[in-house]
Subunit: 310 residues, 2 copies
Amino acid sequence: MSEARDEAPRGVFAAALTPMDGNLNVDREAFALHCRRLLEAGCHGLGVFGTTGEASSLSAKERAAALEALVEAGIPGERLLPGTGSCALTEAVWLSRAALEAGAAGVLVLPPFYYKGVTDEGLYRFFAQLIERVGDGRLRLYLYHFPQMTGGVGISVPLVRRLAADYPEVVRGIKDSEGSWPRIEALCRELPGFGVFAGTERFLLDTLRAGGAGCISATANVTARLARRVYDLHAAGEPGEASSAQRRLTGLRKALEAYPAIPALKLLMRDLTGEDRWLNLRPPLVNLEGESAARLLEEARTLGLAEHAP
Amino acid sequence: MSEARDEAPRGVFAAALTPMDGNLNVDREAFALHCRRLLEAGCHGLGVFGTTGEASSLSAKERAAALEALVEAGIPGERLLPGTGSCALTEAVWLSRAALEAGAAGVLVLPPFYYKGVTDEGLYRFFAQLIERVGDGRLRLYLYHFPQMTGGVGISVPLVRRLAADYPEVVRGIKDSEGSWPRIEALCRELPGFGVFAGTERFLLDTLRAGGAGCISATANVTARLARRVYDLHAAGEPGEASSAQRRLTGLRKALEAYPAIPALKLLMRDLTGEDRWLNLRPPLVNLEGESAARLLEEARTLGLAEHAP
């Protein structure tokens, strides 16, 4: 096993929110501050510009510039797994190169998600062409499987196997956000050493026990401390305490899952930090308001979210 | 009724295919040639960079540059309705401005299609912000409704009404590709003078009779002559002959609908023109091959497609 593989991303990753300013542009200062807080709260790394980071609502240029600014602000590139997927192959290539320039640990890549009913062969060619066009030995690619958001366009287990077999130095893992434990378990079992991240901290301990890498999760923006505790208890060989911490973590996640993710998380961040900019969302997303906002905030207080949050 | 409204796009529009070269870049020369052929075959105009034009597979820069090149090659901007939608508001603004610079008759705009379960209010804000950020009195916006491709994110009839009421000088019409005749009929009835284009030439005559503007259709890449005949017979007040031509047109469309649209149309174009470049497709799309390719070509011959095609 190479040294590079030993240093592969692993553990608790927050799919970091992207704070926006009043003009709905990325608030770079606030973004760096948020990422710093998440790392200090125990995140091993950050999945920036994923679904939670409103990546699809930003142009490629905006994503690349914000990533560069984040690293310049002192967030270590090697702790970052930026999303660089795009429906356009050329744009995914450009974004992936920009991520390499920023020193990112790897890139998290959605399949092209506009056309529906596409074949595994077509998706294979997309990823293969991406790898070949980037043409850089430093590239570490993590597949991003989230069929609920991509209108059913997913990365099947046979496709994961084929890509990992054909590009073993590049295709290093997957973020699996489908929410199916049997699928994650199958990936861990069939691909030992592959970096399998569950897309929810609900499966954090199970994934670690199955030999996976950890989780990359939206709700880790507010549950980071507790998620890290689960990881550490597992690493310390404390299965009973790890399970009990996981139960609490799962309870938090379940409560938060009932709300639209990004508006709910931004509302919680506003509540936790007092910073109003957290309510800036690019359309088509809209803020949680009225009764459901009040219910979420009350539930967060009942669950003692503040003590687990960054 | 203003002069601008009298000159509003109307009639048979092909959702033009985008020919690619061997490196899967837009083949600008072939693109201009194809557009010229479509206009000579009777298309009143062209919906370029829509679903059929593989717009989502091209970066924003590629789309804008190819549009500029098309106009420079002599395709009149006023015959073009380029797709300028993007999940990113900032990119849709940039593309729409580029379309205005190219002298386009209007822009065809998808809703942002990554996030699912978004509200009409969120989509309204997207379009409203787009219009306000472009901030150009020349902007003519056509909504692009295609929920099958956008994973269910559609533009509801109340949302169409709200946008048309709030921005009457800008929001001038819709391309409705859902495939529901009652919906198209309702739009024609509820919004007299609104430019309703059916997304299929199946509904061409019905749409014209209901007071709509026409159709913008993928299959018009190969059925343009016959579609134009339907339009002309209707305009000449020949309802019987128009209906009979529409029946033949519907027959063609139904036969073609059985195949994946873009690979099938590119294969037919290769067959009709002998130009091999028509087989260049960006992944995730793949060519039609083997038995289904043979079946399509045979069916096209049986239906006499060559005589209706550009």
